[in-house]
């Protein structure tokens, strides 16, 4: 996983609540056995009509957001299924940061495992970003070390779990790290073997 330190990108406002993983990546695209190549399927049913033509009024299809890499949406982003294809699709499309007032638990975790920074921000601040993102070319700087977001006339601190921060900053291989606890895992197994099947 690539380390995440600071990042600057253009905001894409997705003015919706409860964006579920079935919308982020519809199930017909879950059949691949690789991690790559899901970007073209991102928000498929919102981006394309039944004939496969781009829907002009959907925000991602507007030319001014073609290069955006920071997605800002409303409450409970990523609810629904556990499919990691959702963050894979977001990442493959080009998003590195997702900002919302709240996220569904599994999605939030899945982001971190893939080096995507999911940031929880108060609703009024998210609202401000969505409104400004809709009317101006809003570039946002994200500093994970300092836990700071900044843009012209905008500065905000954000909270993140210290462990998740470390994993992202260092781009840690979590499995390798866990395997350093091998002795404790073995000890646990010895002690509990009798009780479980």
């Amino acid at each position: 996983m690539h380390p995440f330190k600071t990042f600057e990108g253009r905001v894409c406002p997705l003015d919706r609540t409860n964006v579920d993983t079935d919308q982020i990546i519809p199930k017909q695209f879950l059949k691949r056995v690789e991690r790559k190549g899901f970007g073209s399927c991102l928000f498929y049913n919102w981006r394309f009509d039944e004939k496969g033509n781009k829907k002009k009024d959907f925000v991602l299809n507007k030319p001014e957001y073609a290069q955006s890499s920071i997605l800002v949406a409303r409450d409970n982003f990523g609810c629904g299924s556990s499919r990691e294809h959702a963050p894979w699709a977001l990442q493959d499309y080009g998003f590195r940061v997702i900002i919302a007032p709240s996220f569904a638990d599994i999605f939030y975790n899945n982001c971190q495992k893939n080096g995507i920074l999911a940031i929880r921000l108060d609703s009024p601040r998210v609202d401000e970003l969505i409104r400004r993102g809709a009317t101006e070319a809003l570039a946002l700087t994200v500093d994970l070390e300092q836990q700071k977001l900044s843009a012209p006339n905008f500065a905000e601190h954000f909270e993140i779990d210290p462990y998740q921060k470390e994993v992202l900053l260092k781009g840690l291989d979590e499995i390798a790290m866990t395997l350093t606890y091998e002795d404790e895992i073995v000890a646990y197994e010895k002690q509990h073997e009798a009780v479980v099947h």
């Binding site: 409860n18 879950l30 059949k31 056995v33 990691e84 569904a104 599994i106 499995i175 606890y181 009780v195």
Partner: protein, 469 residues
């Protein structure tokens, strides 16, 4: 000693390592695997020259994209690759697989309990959000992403932040014709789809205690639709009775010992929770969802709501979008909504008890003209049991399709798809846009309500329906 709830007891029992500034390192007792969320995890193991630490604690099946036709031939080339990839991976890493022709194949959350793999006190994970189903046995069971699947395969552990605990207390008893599905839909309609975020929920109260094991699974299954990490129910004699004699359950004296341990896991009297919600079971009516998330639900005798009646703008906007997508008119009586397709299946409602309830409604009636109705049993074992009881005959004579087990029209990854613009009464758990097929419209209901809708061609109050027919 502090009085503990079952969530705290199981969590503490599975702690391997605890340290300030880090999540807890938890041991995972059982890892269930299916074809859609595992290929990239096995690939990750290979790339890093790692192996599966405990194949004996890992069990796999194919369910999400398997065809439910009688010959079970996968026409779709990419689905086929996914199924074959799981077969190869299970073989290479020594994992038992309930393959497509196995007598144990079925939806992962149906076969785990059926085989007795699911047991009280276990930590259970699967790359699927409805893993919460297994909580019905008094286990901590939750869905994980593919990176975590890889982590569990390699280490049999997970780093997990200790979640908050929530009690949902269901007082009183459910009325006649009102079931577990109505109960959980009513809870979600009342408290919303993110009320459980960051929490594990324990369902308690008289109404919960009186549910069968299968009904408890229906309730716990939809915990994720309330945003919860997991949902569970303290084990009792119903739990013990269900597990006795199952393939992976302990045998003989070991079973009695295990049963004692299981019963001791139940939450202590007076245990505390970070949050407690209550609901009165006797007030719950048969439920039907009208919108595009599971909290957008109503009772059968309600009307499709007017979006302008909601108290905040976000809700009004969401309701407007949902009603437009669902092509409904505010003020229409719910029971007057016509139906094109009926799907009885999914990990929420495809067990033998669900099929019996549906068959009871269907017996002697016929599917309404123009309606396509499918029954997809959750597993081979369920299918065989239903056939032994003659339920398949009742369904077939009434004009239902009787299909092979799998997830099927719950997420429409195989050929079982609701066509564009068509309306489906479904016993599954998600009514998201396009879930059952691009442009499909889903109404979530109980098996009995789905069966009644199949016969009437529109929704019907199951309590009146049973009285008339």
């Amino acid at each position: 000693m502090k009085r503990r709830n079952i969530i705290e007891k199981i969590w503490d029992q599975h702690l391997i390592h605890q340290e300030d500034g880090k999540p807890d390192l938890l041991y995972i007792d059982l890892h269930l695997v299916h074809e859609v969320t595992s290929p990239q995890a096995f690939e990750g193991l290979r790339m890093n020259h790692r192996t599966v630490r405990r194949p004996d604690r890992t069990f796999a099946t194919v369910d999400h994209n398997v065809p439910t036709s009688e010959n079970r031939e996968t026409k779709d080339a990419i689905s086929k690759i996914q199924i074959e990839t799981l077969q190869k991976n299970c073989k290479a890493f020594g994992i038992e697989l309930a393959d497509i022709y196995s007598p144990h194949q079925g939806i992962v959350h149906v076969i785990g309990p059926e085989l007795g793999l699911t047991q009280p006190g276990k930590t259970i994970v699967c790359g699927d959000s409805h893993t919460s189903t297994h909580g019905a046995f008094g286990a901590i069971a939750f869905g994980i992403g593919t990176s975590e699947v890889e982590h569990v395969l390699a280490t049999q552990t997970l780093w997990q932040k200790r979640p908050k605990t929530m009690q949902i207390k269901v007082n009183g008893n459910l009325g006649i014709g009102v079931g577990a599905k109505d109960l959980i839909l009513a809870i979600i309609a009342k408290y919303g789809i993110s009320v459980g975020t960051g929490h594990i929920v324990e369902y308690t109260g008289e109404a919960i205690h009186n549910l069968s094991m299968e009904e408890r699974m229906t309730v716990c299954n939809m915990s994720i639709e309330a945003g919860a990490k997991a949902g569970l129910i303290s084990p009792d004699q119903t739990t013990v009775n269900y597990l006795r004699g199952r393939r992976f359950a302990p045998k003989g004296a070991a079973f009695d010992q295990a049963a004692q341990n299981w019963l001791a896991l139940a939450s202590d009297d007076g245990a505390e929770y970070d949050r407690t919600l209550e609901i009165d079971a006797s007030e719950i009516q048969p439920q039907v969802t009208w919108g595009t998330n599971p909290s957008m639900g109503a009772s059968i005798n309600d009307l499709v709501p007017d979006p302008e009646s909601f108290d905040d703008e976000e809700k009004r906007q969401a309701a407007r979008k949902a009603i437009a997508y669902m092509d409904l008119k505010p003020g229409t009586p719910i029971h007057a909504i016509p139906i094109d397709v009926v799907f009885i299946g999914s990990c929420t409602n495809s067990r033998i008890g669900d099929l019996r309830q549906a068959a009871e409604v269907v017996r002697g009636n016929h599917v309404h003209e123009g309606v396509r109705a499918l029954i997809v049993p959750g597993s081979y074992q369920t299918k065989k049991q239903a056939e032994a009881e003659g339920l398949d005959q009742i369904f077939k004579e009434a004009g239902f399709e009787w299909r092979e087990p799998g997830c099927s029209m719950c997420l429409a990854m195989n050929d079982d798809i609701v066509p564009v613009g068509k309306r489906c009464a479904s016993t599954s758990n998600r009514n998201f846009e396009g879930r059952q097929g691009t442009g499909s419209r889903t109404h979530l209901v109980s098996p009995a309500m789905a069966a009644a809708a199949a016969i009437q061609g529109h929704f019907a109050d199951i309590r009146e329906f049973t009285a008339i027919h």
